[in-house]
């Protein structure tokens, strides 16, 4: 049985409006972020995975199960949607507990698991209150509790950190990491890029219904060959370093920092530049640090999609 989530040539149209088009993806376990501006197709991709919408074309396989088999799929998968409506009159506890009953659990077991999930999202005190009276952040957390209560191996979470306070946000990220560490898929959609940088093992960049890049953030960055990589080097002799590296074709630009303690280098070949740095170090230039300056999602976004979708 496959351990991956596989999209094969998946398209979805809403009448004549494009949802997503020709998606081919293989997503390994770990934390994967779906990144894209509003309307890029993130939620459609998640809804396709969970059978809430059907593909117009193509097929989807989630660890060996199709989205049209809800009785199997939702034992494996938990989905915290962006839909902000709840069954009328439910308390937070009822919301999670009744879902577990639908899994076929005995009431005592469902109750135990419901409380465990509610505790994980730090909502025990409010669990007996009606969801209608919850704040946006609390509703977000109770949806998360419902999605994780049955300890799924695939967690699909649409903007899960929206509306959470910093403490809960940190706890939630820890929860994602813990799930990823036990071999689960954690698929998170977000348009907040620094968040994605912080938590993701891999990213899928979407724009206008198309996947524009996928993979580890660094790997994706390296594949963008028409944009030189930016590297910040902190050293004691930035002027000397600048003059020596300019002799090499792969170095496009070198700019000395205002403080005179380092320089920003743009290179077309990162590995050749790193070898060059070793040689310079042996020649007596003291190098304090080397750090990529544009292999974050934010930069990828600007390069691949343009400025309009970026939220910092």
């Amino acid at each position: 049985m496959s351990e991956n989530i596989v999209f094969t040539d998946v398209s979805r149209f809403y009448g004549e409006v494009l949802g997503v088009n020709r998606i081919n993806l293989t997503i390994p376990p770990g934390i994967t972020s779906l990144v894209g501006p509003n309307g890029s197709g993130k939620t459609t991709l998640m809804n396709l995975m969970t059978g809430l919408v059907k593909p117009s074309k193509g097929s989807i396989d989630i660890r060996g199960v199709g989205p049209d088999e809800p009785e199997k799929l939702f034992r494996l998968l938990g989905y915290a949607t962006q839909f902000d409506a709840f069954p009328r009159g439910y308390t937070g506890h009822q919301y999670v507990y009744s879902t577990l009953l639908l899994h076929g659990l005995a009431p005592a077991q469902a109750d135990r698991k419901a409380w465990a999930a509610i505790e994980r999202v730090n909502l025990v005190d409010a669990a007996k209150r009606k969801v209608d009276a919850y704040s946006k952040g609390m509703r977000q957390r109770i949806r998360l509790a419902q999605a994780i209560a049955h300890e799924p191996m695939v967690m699909v979470l649409d903007e899960p950190l929206n509306g959470l306070d910093p403490l809960v946000r940190a706890e939630t990220i820890a929860l994602f990491r813990e799930a990823a560490a036990r071999g689960a898929h954690v698929l998170v959609s977000s348009h907040v890029l620094h968040e994605v940088d912080m938590i993701s093992d891999q990213v899928i960049l979407l724009a206008n219904g198309y996947v524009v890049a996928e993979g580890g953030i660094r790997g994706v960055r390296e594949e963008i060959s028409d944009k030189p990589l930016e590297i910040v080097v902190r050293c004691d002799k930035p002027s000397e370093m600048a003059s020596r590296i300019f002799a090499f074709d792969h170095v496009v630009e070198a700019r000395i920092h205002a403080d005179g303690q380092g320089l920003l280098v743009k290179t077309k070949d990162a590995s050749a530049f790193h070898k060059l740095l070793n040689r310079l170090a042996l020649d007596g230039i003291e190098i304090d640090s080397v750090a990529p300056a544009d292999d974050d999602v934010n930069s990828l976004y600007e390069y691949l999609i343009g400025e309009e979708g970026v939220t910092r």
């Binding site: 809403y14 809804n47 969970t50 059978g51 809430l52 919408v53 059907k54 049209d68 809800p70 009785e71 199997k72 799929l73 939702f74 034992r75 989905y79 949607t81 839909f83 902000d84 409506a85 709840f86 069954p87 009328r88 009159g89 009744s98 879902t99 009953l101 639908l102 899994h103 076929g104």
Partner: protein, 355 residues
């Protein structure tokens, strides 16, 4: 846990979650009004009849000779003679003069009599007796068939069953069920059963209340006699008809809620089809819920008095279906519709913005 055990547990869970929502939904208040309307009318009738029965009883005891007076009334009798007879026998009466016309009213303990005299001579006589239990039971057959099944239960099922899916699409909460490890067929079965629990509960209890109110003004002896002479059979049959109506119309409107966004279109179309049933050829009659329900009713009500005379000529009759076949017919119709609905449910998507 075997597949069947899991489905059973899931269906029961869905019924448990849904029936309260259905019974106590604010948007369903009009269903209660519809269900209780005949009970309210029968309650008013029952109260008035009880008062009349008491009045007749009082007259029968205070003026035991009154029926003799009634027996002596004849055409052309003079008003003064009648007044004398009434006074001699101690019967209370009212007398009104309208020029040459004179009206005398009195109660003889069996009927309320109204006698009209012209130039002092009796020209017309009317008496209003209390309806017998048999007449009330017969009248109720009409109420049950023309109002209770065709309108109250029909629209009650529109309100409850169409909302099971469509209402949650409008509330944008249907994804709650679609994200659970439940086969869509099981979800449909659970929601349908929850709808049945709610509708049979509401309309069944209302029917029992109506029947109790119908019997209430009549004496204990009459009621007891009626119940032991087949009355209990009527009660059970009517209750069964209520249940079968919910089964039949419930399946139709549950499916309609899945296929069609606007509930008025299927409700109006089916209402017209069911209303046309009297005039359909016998083969077509059978493709309706009302035909089987009428076959199950213990007392056949005549065609509605509201049908215009020319249309009465177009009424066709089909032999009523025997009870077991009628029940099987409704169950078969409901099953076929539910199978179609289940197929549709499997294709159901969440696209709240377009719902």
């Amino acid at each position: 846990m075997s597949g069947f055990d899991l489905w059973r547990r899931q269906v029961l869970t869905i019924v448990g979650l849904e029936w309260k929502k259905t019974l106590f939904a604010r948007r369903g208040l009009w269903v209660y009004a519809l269900a209780l309307m005949p009970a309210l009318l029968l309650g008013v009738k029952s109260y008035q009849d009880s008062k009349r029965f008491a009045e007749f009883e009082r007259v029968a005891q205070s003026s035991p000779q009154a029926p003799k007076v009634t027996a002596q009334i004849r055409d052309g009798m003079e008003s003064v003679e009648l007044v004398r007879l009434l006074q001699d026998n101690g019967v209370t009466f009212n007398r009104f003069n309208r020029g040459r016309r004179e009206i005398i009213r009195f109660n003889d303990g069996r009927a309320a009599n109204e006698l009209i005299f012209r130039d002092g001579k009796l020209v017309a006589k009317r008496d209003r007796r209390l309806a017998s239990l048999g007449a009330d039971v017969q009248a109720y057959a009409g109420i049950f068939q023309y109002f209770y099944i065709r309108l109250a239960i029909f629209f009650g099922c529109v309100g409850i069953f169409m909302n099971l899916f469509r209402g949650e699409m409008l509330d944008q909460s249907l994804h709650y069920y679609l994200l659970a490890p439940v086969r869509r067929e099981v979800l449909l079965a659970g929601k349908y059963l929850a709808g049945l629990v709610a509708t049979i509960g509401i309309f069944g209890l209302s029917f029992l209340l109506q029947y109790w109110l119908l019997l209430l003004p009549h004496s204990a002896a009459q009621t007891s006699q009626y119940l032991s002479d087949g009355g209990w059979g009527h009660v059970f049959s009517y209750f069964g008809v209520v249940a079968m109506a919910c089964v039949g119309y419930g399946s139709v409107f549950l499916a309609s809620g899945l296929f069609i966004k606007n509930p008025l279109i299927p409700a109006a179309s089916i209402l017209v089809w069911e209303g046309m049933n009297w005039f359909l050829p016998s083969a077509l009659k059978k493709i309706s819920v009302i035909f089987y329900l009428q076959s199950l009713c213990p007392i056949v009500a005549p065609p509605s008095p509201d049908v215009p005379e020319p249309l009465k000529l177009l009424i066709t009759t089909a032999a009523p279906t025997p009870g077991p076949i009628a029940v099987a017919g409704i169950l078969a119709l409901a099953s076929a519709i539910l199978v179609l609905a289940a197929r549709k449910a499997r294709q159901l998507e969440i696209n709240y913005s377009s719902d």
